[in-house]
């Protein structure tokens, strides 16, 4: 009971349920939507950031991976170049 309270330091928990932009099912062809779940380096945002449920996060992640295979989205780029 005290262990849980020690971990409670989120100022505003549940940042955004972004997939609730009226999308019930994630489409891997919807590049504009999936882009929002990528960092500028092309990595998939963590659940902590996206505030999605595990199921949603998984759906988004597989959609991104499918889109990457078809060159719709970039793969993560190693370092901030320049």
């Amino acid at each position: 009971m005290s262990a849980t309270s020690a971990r409670r330091r989120n100022p505003k928990r549940k940042p955004n349920l972004l997939a609730r932009e009226g999308v019930a099912r994630v489409d891997w062809k919807d590049v504009g939507l999936l882009r929002k779940f990528l960092s500028d380096r092309g990595k998939i945002r963590s659940r902590r950031v996206t505030g999605l449920t595990p199921q949603q996060q998984r759906a988004v992640a597989t959609a991104i991976k499918n889109a990457r295979e078809m060159a719709l989205l970039p793969y993560p780029t190693p370092a901030p170049r320049r």
């Binding site: 062809k29 078809m70 060159a71 970039p74 793969y75």
Partner: protein
């Protein structure tokens, strides 16, 4: 019979107007096997996120197909043999319609 979604990336040096007809000849495999081509959507030229076979862009096309697993497999194989096809992807579409047992 199942609902599939086939995405194809074609060589950008092709004429975009020839894409739909040439794609259609490929889709005859589906039709002869008793399947149904529901939708052919040619997105047109698009920048690729990374180079594929030295190409910076490609012509995208998405085909919705309702057919047997063997038919898509054959379609995918034939597409892959074609030199002007850079990449293909076949996915099941279970959301739009439940599979009909047959």
């Amino acid at each position: 019979m199942r609902h599939y979604e086939v995405m194809v990336i074609l060589d950008p040096s092709l004429d975009e107007r020839t894409v739909a007809p040439s794609l259609d000849t490929f889709l005859n495999v589906v039709r002869t096997s008793g399947g149904n081509v529901e939708k052919v959507d040619v997105w047109g030229r698009r920048r690729l996120s990374y180079e594929i076979a030295k190409h910076a862009e490609g012509i995208y096309a998405v085909v919705d197909v309702f057919c047997d697993p063997d038919a898509v497999k054959e379609l995918d194989r034939q597409l892959g043999l074609n030199e002007s096809v850079l990449r293909t992807k076949v996915l099941r579409r279970e959301d739009t319609r439940t599979a009909v047992k047959a």
